[in-house]
Assembly symmetry: C2
Homo-oligomer: 300 residues x 2
């Protein structure tokens, strides 16, 4: 089976590595507009060969792993070009604009919109590793818009990657993911910015920062090339989440200014409830055990 | 040597455990106004015996590990009560108000103001572990206000705890720690609050949250009883840091609303510089290697 992976960074590289290691006969063709990334991916054994975009014409499956602005740019042409039983999937962190763009495309049913909730703060082919997706959630959006066979192909890939499938519509995806993922990236990027601005002498940060700061600001190391298009594409929900976050921070600041320990205590006690949710997410290990039905039920 | 530890939570419990395991003849007397915590600390072997506050009278060393409002409440009386060559140290996350309070105390020189930059999001004696402080930074403030012998005693304890000593004045401590520690706790508490408010159905958070969200919101699990007094006591610096953070978030929101990818990209690229600083902080392991002089020099 000929699989074309477009975008050979952390996500695309990790997909390639896993499929190749499966020994199920996948032939992995890699495409990246960054030539160094492409040759590095070949060198690392993440792909079998480097080709240009016209390789999609004969592909059985095309997996788009580029930043989401390039998904928009590439997807219509790829759908035009693929063979009749070819399947296309993307793995981007936004879904609505992508799905809207090709909603009326004659080959819409050949496309499956997906989003694996997996990643690290590192990027590029050297950041790839084969257990990146193990036990993580893989979202498939607007399933009813895709052909049954296309869904079968994508589910097989998700199975191989050990992703646990969750299904939702693309509009809900973009709303919820704004809060649970996009907002935490911005809070971290801006925290990093604020501390760097204040501490011109980085030695102070290094000396005084503990594991708490490191944990909170970890996402500030993430790739701007990946995240700028995500925030732009999901701007309404991201803006709404930021507005609420800023409003809540401002309310907290009022309590700080008044040294109002009682209300700060109450507010933080409410936030403590996040522990119950986090206990289901293994942040220590990149090889988290799959989230079981039982764990999900406990939360309901 | 009789050591009295007041406050038998994560910090006090971990100090007790480490000193007892040293087999250097420390006799550890534990005090906690929470009786359950006290008996649990005894049960866990973190202390040798439980006593009441009058035990400080005969103590060689008193280590105050309570929330910082109780440090203020307890410290003057303890200084009044200790014997002539007794030493008192605290381990709180704020230093100015504590140092100002006892600045004119006749036994000021018996007190050493300290702050180990160590902790987890867990609290209580059950959260204690003996490597909590290994390789972390231990700050000693206003050294010139303490007697040489008192400093010797405290340095020996810090050495045993494997803390790397950094010296600074209490005003600088409170300013810098507001940015590098207190602000990241608020950003995390309020992020948790914002997401919980939005996601009434916690299943959505559980299904959609990845390790990035878990990392950013980890500190929202921290103890409100510990943090409310810290924010109140360091309110000026904390408020200033929050103001800058909110200003920067608001500026980022303007870019999101305008889908201004170029400026978002630039802003995030600047934040990426935090990687260099974080690379010196081991967030994976609680047993981080000591930060070496070389690593610190690299940052200068």
């Amino acid at each position: 089976m000929d699989v074309v992976i477009i975008g050979l960074g952390l996500i695309g590289g990790s997909v390639g590595m896993k499929l190749k290691k499966s020994n199920l006969g996948y032939h992995i063709i890699g495409i990246d507009n960054n030539e160094q990334h492409a040759s590095r991916a070949l060198e690392l054994g993440l792909i079998d060969e480097i080709r240009s975009l016209d390789a999609v014409v004969s592909a059985d499956l095309v997996i788009i792993c580029t930043p989401v602005d390039n998904v928009l740019r590439l997807l219509p042409g790829i759908l035009d070009a693929i063979k009749a039983d070819g399947v296309v999937m993307d793995m981007g962190s936004t879904k609505s604009e992508i799905c809207t763009l090709i909603d009326k495309h004659p080959k819409r049913k050949s496309f499956v919109a997906t989003h694996p909730i997996a990643g690290t703060e590192n990027s590029g082919p050297d950041a790839a590793f084969d257990s990146l997706f193990d036990g993580k959630t893989g979202i498939i959006c607007d399933e009813n818009k895709s052909h049954k066979n296309a869904l079968l192909v994508v589910n097989r890939i998700y199975d191989l990657l050990k992703l646990n499938v969750v299904k939702m519509d693309s509009a809900s995806h973009d709303l919820h993911i704004a809060y649970v993922s996009h907002l935490s990236h911005i809070s971290s990027f801006v925290l990093g910015q604020t501390v760097l601005e204040m501490e011109e002498d980085e030695k102070n940060i290094f000396n005084l920062a503990g594991s708490g700061f490191a944990s909170t600001v970890r996402l500030a190391k993430s790739s701007p090339a990946m995240w700028a298009p995500i925030f732009a594409q999901n701007k309404e929900h991201v803006s709404q989440s930021l507005e609420t976050y800023i409003k809540n921070l401002t309310a907290f600041k009022v309590m700080v200014d008044a040294a109002d320990k009682d209300n700060m205590f109450e507010s933080m006690t409410r936030s403590n409830k996040i522990r119950k949710v986090l206990d289901g997410i293994d942040i220590q290990s990149m090889n988290a055990e799959p989230k079981t039905k039982e764990m999900i039920n406990e939360l309901t």
